[in-house]
């Protein structure tokens, strides 16, 4: 009976060895999903950048990050095209991570830009109040000048030239 056990053990090891690559290998379907997800993440991140830009934020740094993410997506597509599905998943995941970080960064910029938009009212208030105060002060100075001017005219006497 012992030799049967040995054969079974050898068969089990052989099955295990041959099954490991299949268990770890990345299939085309999984790679396609990863690439598609990365593409979606990249578009979503760019949408976030557009929102931040519309709010008045400077998004040039985030665009650089998106450029790196886009490069990874191109790599993922190339690897997928070449049948390197594991490489495609790795590059797609890198793209998704970069796109997610860029989207978060863009969202932070948008929030800051919206908060900074509160300065808009301060600026308008400064203009309106400042202009009004300036006009009032100028009017007061004008009234004072007119009074002084009138007094001088009244006080002045014609000189008689001999």
């Amino acid at each position: 009976m012992r030799w049967w056990v040995n054969i079974l053990a050898v068969l089990a090891v052989v099955c295990l060895v041959f099954s490991v690559p299949f268990g770890l290998a990345v299939g085309a379907a999984e790679a396609a999903v990863a690439v598609s997800d990365a593409d979606t993440a990249l578009r979503g991140a760019f949408d976030a950048v557009l929102d931040a830009e519309a709010a008045g934020a400077n998004v040039s740094a985030v665009l650089v990050s998106l450029g790196w993410a886009g490069g990874n997506l191109t790599l993922a597509e190339g690897a997928f095209q070449g049948g390197d599905y594991a490489g495609a998943v790795a590059a797609a995941d890198a793209c998704s991570a970069l796109a997610g970080a860029a989207a978060g960064e863009a969202d932070g910029l948008r929030v800051n830009a919206v908060a900074a938009a509160g300065l808009w009212w301060q600026t308008v208030a400064f203009s309106v109040v400042g202009a009004c105060v300036f006009v009032v002060v100028l009017a007061l100075v004008w009234r004072w000048l007119r009074r002084v001017y009138g007094r001088r005219i009244v006080a002045s006497r014609p000189e008689v030239l001999a």
Binding site: L42, R43, F46, D47, V49, L50, E53, V59, S60, L63, V64, L66, G67, G70, G71, L73, T74, E77, G78, Q81, G82, W120, T123, V124, F126, S127, V128, G130, A131, F134, V135, L138, V141, W142, L145, R146, Y149
Partner: protein, 197 residues
């Protein structure tokens, strides 16, 4: 001595200038000057980063490099997709706002701020090239190291087997969530030659 009317003119002028100065910060927030024409640029440069030195006589197994660039003048940030395509005489180029029906072989992405430009290096090459009679067949078109099965043929025209590699510019359309052909392409004619014997 100035008359009172002279002083009045000076006060009115100072008042207007002062009000204008106070209004400048608010005007800067409200008034936006109209921008110029909105468009995108697309160009291809030779290996020396100049508008010269483009590959023309090509053959299998060699790699050729050019630079494809995009300029953004759309008034806001843009997400561009540049698609490389290979065609022969019988296949259509893009027509106006309609892209070429030829399948894309390789993509590049560029995120470009308004008024900025982006440029990417493109290497391409050919494989599976066979000459049969007066016909040249190209089986593989490689773009940036990625091989695409193309199976294109070109008949001998004079002394040349002409293929054209071209790059189409696509623009991300947020409202549709997809890319639209942006009506721009650049192209290079190539003459496939046999390897030296």
């Amino acid at each position: 001595m100035w008359r009172l009317e002279d002083y009045r003119v000076v006060f009115v002028a100072v008042g207007l200038v002062g009000v204008l100065l106070f209004a400048v910060p608010s005007l800067a927030l409200v008034v936006h000057l109209p921008g110029g024409e909105r468009f995108s640029e697309l160009w291809v440069l030779g290996s020396g980063h100049m508008a010269e030195g483009y590959p023309y006589n090509v053959r299998a197994g060699e790699s050729y490099q050019v630079y494809v660039g995009v300029g953004n003048h759309l008034g806001g940030s843009a997400y561009y997709l540049v698609q490389a395509k290979l065609r022969n005489w019988s296949e259509a180029l893009p027509d106006g706002s309609v892209p070429s029906p030829v399948a894309a072989t390789g993509k590049m992405r560029g995120f470009v701020a308004d008024g900025q430009s982006w440029e990417g290096a493109v290497s391409f090459g050919f494989g599976g090239v066979a000459f049969e009679g007066n016909t040249c067949r190209v089986g593989v078109f490689r773009v940036n190291g990625v091989a695409f099965q193309v199976d294109k043929t070109a008949d001998l025209n004079g002394t040349e087997y002409a293929f054209e590699v071209f790059w189409e510019l696509w623009l991300y359309n947020r409202s549709e969530g997809m890319f639209d052909y942006h009506g721009r392409y650049v192209a290079l004619w190539l003459n496939m030659t046999a390897p030296p014997e």
